[in-house]
């Protein structure tokens, strides 16, 4: 069967066979930083996010997770589960500084680093800069150095593609390492509960359970047509994932088309005031990524996914590039107000900034040409 050429075909020529990918994921990142910097928080359940009745948990310490507190959970619910929970406002500038520290460590081993967010990244170490050769050894060295240089722990997954590396990093969390060797991928995925697949949330898992799908092996038995019938756009991904296949390359400094953040909620949200409050948290998360990417853009998109998995998005473009959180928030709030009241409860909300300015690169065919007026729809 002719597989399409892998995007890293050039790298594969030098190292015949498989790639070596590491996924590094900081453990309970925001919460761990808070515990590191405030000794009185250590060993106690901590949540980062809005403590207000309408806020949402952005990150939870392992002590809090033991009570069932999860990120993206409404703060009120988190307090119900864990009355002792200590809330901290996020300090993104600190997280950003730590993120730069760990990124510098990664770059000591390979230039092929693809950050996914402040606290996780893929590394392609098929050919590492230090000639170490063993991806497992590199992952161990990176974890040691992160601990020594930042006082924080990280988990790492090692495998021959991104999908498996990410699954592996999740396997022995916190402060763990897991290696999925060539030949083991399909078996690893087969035994895995589907909820562990990236992109399959609690609802997705529930739906699969209804179809008798509990594990990767169950999923693998379905052909593409059946998957499409039940899971629509996600079908292709699931089809490959169930086989442990992932051909994506680790993209260092990939050109961004948009930057932002989204969250799937623990419970569907419907009241306007809850949605507005939650939007603020998502704006925080989105702005954090925008600032970190040093991005500026003119189009703000609000994305909503409803209880029945249907989606809606609303976008607005502004004349001057968005350069502050205030400007981002103003447009995002306007977009939300415009769609309220909603036809049904919301399971996911996201805010992204696009039509990004690319420094040093000329804008595409007038799309962002300065001075170009927009049709007043």
């Amino acid at each position: 069967m002719p597989l399409p050429p892998s995007p890293t075909a050039a790298a594969a020529e030098d190292a015949p066979g498989l790639r070596k990918i590491i996924h590094v994921d900081m453990d309970a990142f925001y919460a761990s930083v808070e515990q590191r910097d405030a000794p009185e928080l250590r060993g106690r359940p901590v949540a980062v996010g809005g403590s207000a009745a309408r806020g949402v948990v952005a990150a939870a310490s392992y002590e809090a997770r033991a009570f069932g507190v999860r990120s993206a959970m409404p703060s009120a619910r988190a307090v119900q589960l864990c009355p002792e929970l200590i809330f901290r406002r996020p300090r993104f500038e600190v997280y950003r500084a730590v993120s730069q520290q760990i990124r510098a460590i990664f770059l000591d081993y390979t230039p092929h680093v693809e950050p996914l967010s402040l606290d996780e990244a893929y590394l392609d170490v098929t050919r590492d800069l230090r000639g170490i050769g063993s991806a497992t050894r590199i992952a161990e060295l990176i974890r040691q150095r992160i601990r020594a240089e930042t006082g924080l722990t990280a988990s790492a997954g090692v495998s021959y593609n991104k999908f498996l590396a990410k699954l592996a990093s999740d396997q022995n969390k916190p402060d763990g390492l897991c290696v999925i060797r060539p030949g083991e991928g399909a078996a690893f995925v087969a035994s895995l509960p589907v909820a562990r697949f990236h992109g399959v949330g609690p609802r997705g898992a529930e739906k699969m359970a209804g179809l008798g799908i509990a594990t990767g092996a169950d999923l693998r038995r379905l052909d593409l047509a059946t998957l499409r019938q039940h899971f629509g756009a996600q079908a292709d991904y699931l089809y490959r994932a169930a086989r442990g296949i992932d051909l994506r390359a680790v993209m260092a400094d990939r050109p961004r088309k948009s930057v932002g953040a989204e969250r799937t909620f623990d419970r569907d949200l419907s009241s306007g005031s809850v949605l507005r409050e939650t939007l603020e948290t998502i704006i925080d998360l989105a702005w954090d990524r925008i600032a970190r990417a040093d991005a500026s853009g003119r189009t703000v998109t609000l994305k909503l996914k409803f209880r029945d998995f249907s989606a809606m998005s609303r976008a607005r473009s502004v004349a001057a590039p968005i350069a502050t959180r205030v400007a981002l928030a103003e447009v995002a709030r306007g977009l939300l107000d415009q769609v309220l009241p909603l036809p049904q409860p919301v399971r996911l909300m996201g805010v992204t900034l696009s039509a990004l300015d690319e420094p040093g690169q000329d804008a595409d065919a007038g799309a962002t040409a300065p001075g170009q007026a927009q049709l007043p729809f």
Partner: protein, 372 residues
């Protein structure tokens, strides 16, 4: 399966269907074309990218064994291209392989089973009507340049079709310019849902129309799918998912009270814009138009490349003023005007400008200015 087909027939058919197949596919079977030979000496080819599907039938010289198989579309197309002109091509399956024979050549291609080939479920397509292919082609030509390529505004990534009163309207916009084409509502289109046909479908359809300009095209559609049937029995059927989104209420941005009318020759206007824009860099692609009585002066000022100006005769009697436009946008629109005169209905330097051949033209354009 075993069938023999004229190389020219196979090549023409493959050239249509392979164009739907994406070059890069992570799902192997999407790189393949489904070949189905039936006993009535007919062979059917099918290709899909899961959003767009094409099915075309062609006559075979003979079908010795009915059956179906899938092989790489681009590979088979490349082979068919290189086979000798006038030859007959035999396609035969054996042991998970398809053997292609023509003249002295013999190829063995890997296959994937036909049962794995995904088919778009069309569902019920309650609205059906016909449009002359030539009209549909013109509709596409006049509007598709304005389709947005910005993925965040996915609902602008296609041509919007809707019926209003006794007409069918097609519109496309990227937020800077808008193109609209109006035709008499075809019999059967009444009550049709508003639909947005994706850009890729529009592009493939336009290519196919070129070969059947004197026929009618049958459209069958629902709110989520559209099917275009071209060229009768041994014809092509293109089925596409529609863009699931809401097209903006564009009629609001079509100016109705612009009182400054400029008329000039579209060809010399186009050429003038093109000439002065030579010195425009990527960042300053604005062309300034200075309007005076019966005269327009086009000019471009570039910090790097100097200045350019050109004066054009025109019909203009309203008050003089200056307005700027993106040179490429102006050229896109002017190249759609095929008469001796183009009308620009202007208001001021910040307002939408209406451009059309005349008030009888089925096509109409709205262009937003640029600050100059």
């Amino acid at each position: 399966m075993k069938a023999t087909i004229e190389r020219a027939t196979l090549l023409r058919c493959l050239s249509h269907v392979q164009s739907v197949v994406e070059r890069r596919n992570t799902i192997p079977i999407l790189s393949n074309v489904l070949i189905e030979a039936s006993a009535n000496n007919s062979v059917r080819l099918m290709a899909t990218d899961l959003d767009l599907q094409i099915v075309e039938s062609m006559p075979a010289v003979s079908v010795e064994g009915p059956g179906a198989i899938t092989v790489s579309a681009h590979l088979l197309f490349d082979i068919a291209r290189k086979l000798p002109d006038g030859s007959q091509v035999s396609l035969e399956t054996a042991d998970n392989r398809m053997i292609v024979k023509a003249g002295r050549s013999r190829f063995q291609l890997p296959t994937l089973p036909r049962d794995d080939f995904p088919v778009i479920v069309e569902g019920d397509l309650p609205t059906s009507f016909e449009i002359p292919a030539r009209v549909l082609a013109e509709l596409i030509d006049r509007t598709r340049f304005a389709i947005s390529t910005e993925e965040t505004r996915y609902y602008l990534n296609g041509i919007f079709f809707h019926v209003a009163d006794e007409v069918l309207k097609a519109a496309a916009t990227d937020g800077h310019r808008l193109a609209r084409y109006t035709l008499t509502r075809p019999e059967g289109a009444e009550g049709m849902p508003d639909v947005i046909v994706p850009r890729k479908c529009v592009g493939e359809l336009r290519k196919l129309l070129e070969e059947v300009l004197d026929t009618n095209v049958l459209l069958d559609l629902s709110a989520s799918k559209v099917r275009f049937t071209l060229g009768g029995e041994h014809g092509v059927v293109l089925t596409s998912k529609l863009i699931d989104g809401t097209f903006p209420d564009y009629s609001r941005v079509i100016p109705t009270a612009n009182d400054k009318l400029l008329k000039l020759d579209p060809r010399s206007f186009y050429e003038g814009v093109d000439r002065v824009a030579t010195i425009a860099t990527e960042k300053t692609r604005a062309v300034k138009m200075a309007l005076e009585t019966d005269r327009v002066t086009l000019s471009v000022t570039s910090p790097d490349n100097g200045t350019a100006a050109e004066e054009l005769p025109a019909d203009y009697t309203a008050q003089g003023f200056e307005i700027g436009f993106n040179a490429n946008y102006l050229k896109d629109i002017l190249s759609q005007i095929d008469g001796d005169t183009v009308e620009l209905h202007l208001a001021d330097a910040g307002a939408p400008t209406l451009i059309r051949k005349d008030d009888k033209s089925p096509a109409l354009y709205v262009l937003m200015p640029m600050r100059v």
